[in-house]
């Protein structure tokens, strides 16, 4: 009787240790998965920001061109101003229509062009938060900004910030 009780006790102890190990494993794995998911989300946002910045730098609405020859990494200041007034300064209805057209390309993001030399200026050409922002990931692409009237090239960059939003 005593021997069989001991055996049962031993089996219960082994099973308890086994389940404790399984629970520790599950807790560890869930924490690891959370970290992995967060890091994957950040990587995806960065990829999206890079993709949008690529699209912006090759957007015909902004690029410099002379006799249909496009200049690499260059924006025309008059095109920037025109795009800005189309997307940011028009009446609410028009703005909504135009923003919804560009939403397919830019999504929930903010795109700003900065000129830093010789003169300092900035143009916010697109901004759509859609509400419930929790943060953003941004990437920058250096560009030249051409004033074709004075044939002057300024040094600047495009800042693309992709918003992270609350789910639901």
């Amino acid at each position: 009787m005593k021997k069989s009780q001991l055996k049962i006790g031993e089996s219960v102890a082994v099973l308890m240790i086994f389940f404790v190990l399984v629970i520790v494993g599950i807790v560890f794995w869930s924490r690891y998965s959370q970290v992995q998911i967060k890091s994957q989300q950040e990587t995806d946002l960065l990829s999206q920001a890079i993709k949008i910045s690529q699209t912006v730098t090759f957007l015909s609405e902004l690029q410099c061109s002379t006799l249909e020859v496009i200049k690499f990494s260059c924006f025309d200041v008059y095109k920037i101003n025109a795009t800005r007034s189309l997307l940011m300064e028009s009446s609410d209805d028009e703005r909504e229509n135009r923003t919804s057209y560009y939403f397919d390309i830019f999504g929930f993001s903010n795109i700003t062009v900065y000129s830093i030399y010789p003169s300092q200026q900035s143009w916010n050409i697109y901004d759509f938060t859609g509400g419930n922002i929790t943060g953003y990931v941004s990437t920058q692409v250096p560009v030249s900004i051409l004033d074709p009237i004075n044939n002057q090239f300024s040094f600047g960059y495009v800042n693309v910030a992709v918003y992270t939003r609350k789910a639901g």
Partner: protein, 174 residues
């Protein structure tokens, strides 16, 4: 007795195999995710180096300082040693000095602010193979012992000086 010992050994072997599979799985996952992250960083840094060099070289100087000439033109003048002067904060300075300060301003306002380590170099190579530094800006790009560059994404542009060539290089270090 022998049978019981053998069974326990088998149990231990199974536990060891399960733990090994778990560790292998975690390590494989970690390596795979860091690999895809580094590919994205490589791409964006290579693009950054290319764009920043192209933009710097095509930037115009201030109209009052150097007749609004582009940085690439000023670099050629500096490389040829024409003795050209420009205005810097109202003072007449050599074109090479003007370039040093201007390029410094552009790099400080961009890649330095974005916390990127970089090395900017402009040099001309003589027919004899000797390299002469025109301007250089080095920001924390050396390894801890100061012996050489860490991992870099580099892009270069070449400017004609006749008969020599000037090389303008931007390296981003991580």
């Amino acid at each position: 007795m022998i049978k019981k010992a053998q069974t326990e050994m088998l149990g231990i072997a199974i536990v060891v195999i399960l733990v090994s599979i778990g560790i292998l799985f975690i390590v494989t996952n970690a390596i795979r995710s860091s690999g895809s992250q580094s590919q994205k960083t490589d791409f964006s840094e290579k693009q950054l180096a290319t764009n920043i060099l192209a933009s710097i070289l095509s930037t115009s100087s201030k109209a009052d300082d150097c007749q609004g000439d582009r940085i690439s033109t000023l670099m050629i003048d500096c490389g040829k040693g024409t003795g050209r002067t420009c205005l810097l904060n109202g003072n007449e300075v050599d074109v090479c000095e003007y370039l040093n300060v201007t390029i410094d301003t552009l790099l400080n306002a961009t890649i330095k602010v974005w916390n990127k380590k970089y090395q900017f170099l402009a040099y001309k190579s003589l027919a004899s193979g000797v390299q002469i530094n025109i301007t250089s800006r080095i920001e924390q790009c050396l390894a801890g012992d100061g012996t050489g560059l860490q991992y870099v994404q580099k892009d270069s542009y070449y400017l004609p000086l006749y008969p020599e060539t000037m090389t303008v290089e931007l390296s981003l270090c991580s």
